[in-house]
Amino acid sequence: MSNIKDAVLNSYGKNVRKCMKCGKCSATCPSYDEMEYHPHQFVSMVEKGDIETLMKSESIFKCLTCYACVERCPRNVEPARVIEAVRFAQLRKQGNNHLIPDMIPDMLDEDLPQQAIVTAFRKYAK
């Protein structure tokens, strides 16, 4: 348990305790409605060490890494980086493949830029 917390905090590299619980990250998040746990919850759950719950949640893959929360966080906590750290912990642990090329045709959206698909593979595929 504490090893995961240390690993997450280490790859995150900033201080979650700086958070003043203003919720600006969640206020600014474009994926908010898609998420079970929202950006501000990520920060407080990582601080508490409740990381396994987050790792099991789909929410870690709902973050677009758009960095709106990083840009606007008044405390320099940069929630997207917290989420990224949890995501990495999950990916490295399981070695699971969350995206296989066969899934793509069903999900394809005309407006979706190709770059996004490439990015998605880098993020979600092993």
């Binding site: 203003c22 919720g23 969640s26 600014t28 606007r72 008044p74």
Partner: protein
């Protein structure tokens, strides 16, 4: 040979927990010249001081070393104690075993070793101490208040009340400051102008108070009790002594499209203008950036209509010099600029306003005559969103790290006033914390929630998007119900952080006072000397020292006045005898010291000297005015020939200390 006594203080456990005080006293007993050495729990207590006094008498001490806290804390206490039994107070040295030893070290052995070394250095210095006698310098019975807001006005009124002359320097054309722009005041909701303008008039009519409006401090020289200040009276192109404030020129001025800064640029004024109806002094000013006559030499309407001939297009900046015994700084605050906060669309939509702009929008003398209308289309807003902590409590490069203190309360006030006047308006306040310490403050905020139905939402606004239909799409989080809110607002009000006025930093340099990293003036002691700066004779009043509301500002203003009066009451003050002096035989007349002296205490004189061959020669040598010298020591470092030396901190004493430390 000196007979030295060493007194080691435990400071409760402050020193004794980390330093073996008994070992220190024991070890220092063996130093040359030490005839008595002891330790005690609290040297600064009466019984502690008695130990020192008794030892001086009993052992015929000629020098005393107290190993205790910082000399800034208790040097004066111990000097007084030794003086009371006839020892010259400057024969005492303090070795700082607390701030510079016990508080910063953890290991007892090393801390004790360092304590012994610090004590040894102080003993080495005392060996070379010489008795010094403090002189006296007279106090000029006049005070200067820099800044004419509510803080400056209150301070000036109180000083004048005590019978002293006081000058107010205000950089704007009128006194009144930020309070004059505020509509109502919390927590009583009385009108700001109704309680401020009588004070402004009182200041103007008081014969002890002299207002220099539209003026700035250009230079400060001198020291406590005897400051010489150069005041720059900026050209207002209107003769203050002639103008009656009738306002005819402002009516006739053809240049009517000048942004009105008093109304936060929400409407326009003329190029010749009086800031507001109750301005003090009620004297017009011509804005040279817009006046057609001053820009192109074509117009002159104001000059033609002025019946008293007050318009003077040729007026120049004027510099006057005045002398003061005390200076009170009351330079106040400003809201920060919000151009870096793109997410709130402040620069995109006129309907996103700061709280100070809202004050003007709601004020009877404001751009809409007191009716709250959206700046964009002049319609009544039905949904208003307030955002707290915009730029306050930030750890980023955009904002300020501190809480601006006043925003929670003025937002509750705004919300309440809007709900009272326009009950069909929904008001949302997004807060991180609601901070309401103060008499009747929390009750006031609760009234906004309970009686006026203001929606307080715990969370922050993430973004504001102006839509084509004129609404503002507000996206925010409600942390308590864990949902993201989308509100279609008509207006958004941002509680911008407040920061010290920009003039404060250069002023602090002129006054040689300290500031913190946020440019607030630093008080001499955060708890016990909150209205004095560390520079003698300079006092602090109002928001220049930290964010403050009106009641606190007025309280501090009166406190600063009391401190200034305490100084002005004295006919003379005791000078610091630790001043520089030059060895005329060694001085080569190079002027290095004169150039570095920040107080102008050094002058050069031509003096006749007898030469070895019995002739006489005239040489140019440095001479220090001890009343002006503050003992900073800059000259002793600059002097290439070693002629300049500082009483009490002589070069030989400092070298003796270094030798003792390196032994």
């Amino acid at each position: 040979m000196q007979r030295i006594g060493v007194f080691v203080c435990h400071c409760g456990t402050n020193i004794a927990a980390t330093v073996d005080v008994k070992a220190v006293a024991e070890t220092l007993k063996n130093e040359s010249g030490v005839v008595f050495s002891t330790d005690y729990q609290y040297m600064c207590s009466e019984s502690g001081q008695n130990i020192i006094k008794d030892a001086i008498k009993e052992h015929k001490l000629t020098g005393v070393v107290v190993c205790s806290c910082s000399p800034r804390m208790h040097e004066a206490t111990f000097r007084k104690a030794v003086a009371s039994v006839g020892l010259n107070p400057y024969m005492l040295e303090v070795a700082n075993l607390r701030e510079q030893c016990s508080w910063i070290h953890k290991d007892i052995a090393t801390a004790t070793e360092k304590a012994v070394i610090l004590g040894r250095a102080a003993i080495a210095k005392v060996h070379l101490n010489a008795p010094l006698t403090a002189g006296e310098s007279p106090v000029v019975k006049r005070a200067l208040v820099i800044g004419g807001g509510i803080a400056g006005i209150q301070t000036a009124l109180d000083i004048a009340d005590a019978g002293f002359d006081v000058d107010i320097i205000e950089k704007e054309p009128t006194i009144g400051g930020k309070m004059a722009q505020i509509d109502k005041t919390f927590p009583t909701l009385d009108c700001a102008a109704c309680i401020l303008t009588p004070k402004m008039v009182e200041a103007a009519q008081n014969e002890k108070i002299h207002i220099h409006s539209f003026s700035e401090v250009a230079d400060v020289k001198g020291f406590v009790g005897n400051f010489t200040v150069t005041i720059k009276k900026k050209a207002r192109f209107v003769d203050e002594t002639k103008c009656t404030g009738c306002g005819l020129c402002t009516e006739k001025c053809p240049m009517k499209k000048v942004p009105n800064e008093f109304n936060m640029n929400l409407d326009n004024r003329t190029a010749v203008y009086i800031p507001f109806a109750q301005a003090v002094p009620k004297v017009a000013r011509i804005d040279p950036n817009y006046c057609l006559m001053l820009k192109n030499g074509k117009c002159g309407v104001c000059s033609k209509v002025c019946s008293v001939g007050a318009i003077d297009y040729k007026q120049q900046d004027k510099f006057i010099e005045e002398r003061y015994g005390a200076i009170v700084v009351a330079t106040g605050f400003n809201p920060i600029k919000l151009d870096k906060y793109d997410e709130f669309a402040y620069s995109l939509s006129p309907d996103v306003v700061t709280s100070l702009e809202l004050e003007r929008l709601m004020n009877a003398a404001g751009p809409n005559g007191g009716t709250l209308l959206r700046p964009s289309d002049k319609t009544h807003p039905h949904t208003i969103v307030f955002v707290q902590c915009v730029g306050s409590r930030c750890d980023d490069s955009k904002g300020k790290p501190y809480c601006s203190k006043i925003c929670c309360m003025y937002t509750a006030k705004h919300a309440m006033l809007i709900r009272e006047k326009y009950p069909d308006t929904e008001v949302y306040v997004f807060y991180i914390d609601v901070r309401t310490p103060g008499k009747n403050f929390d009750e006031f905020y609760r009234r906004a929630v309970e009686e006026y139905g203001v929606h307080y939402v715990k969370g922050m606004v993430g973004k504001v998007t102006p839509r084509t239909d004129g609404k503002l799409a507000v996206q925010a989080s409600d942390l308590l119900s864990n949902e993201q809110l989308h509100i279609d607002a008509d207006m958004v009000v941002l509680a911008a952080a407040i920061e010290p006025d920009k003039t404060a930093r250069p002023l602090a340099t002129m006054l040689t006072t300290q500031m913190d990293t946020n440019d607030f003036f630093t008080e001499a002691h955060p708890k016990l000397r909150p209205v004095e700066s560390a520079t003698a004779g300079i006092f602090l009043s109002g928001a220049c020292q930290g964010p403050k509301d009106i009641p606190e500002t007025v309280a501090q203003a009166s406190a600063a006045a009391a401190k200034a009066i305490g100084l002005l009451c004295k006919n003379s003050i005791t000078c610091n005898p630790c001043v520089a002096h030059s060895d005329e035989l060694m001085c080569n007349g190079c002027s290095s010291c004169e150039k570095v002296c920040p107080y102008g205490a050094i002058t050069y004189i031509d003096k006749e000297f007898r030469m070895p061959d019995r002739t006489t020669a005239i040489r140019r040598v440095a001479s220090v005015n001890p009343a002006v010298c503050q003992g900073c020591g800059a000259c002793t470092v600059a002097c290439p020939s070693g002629a300049m030396d500082l009483n009490g901190f002589s070069n030989s004493q400092i070298m003796a200390e270094v030798d003792a430390i390196c032994k």
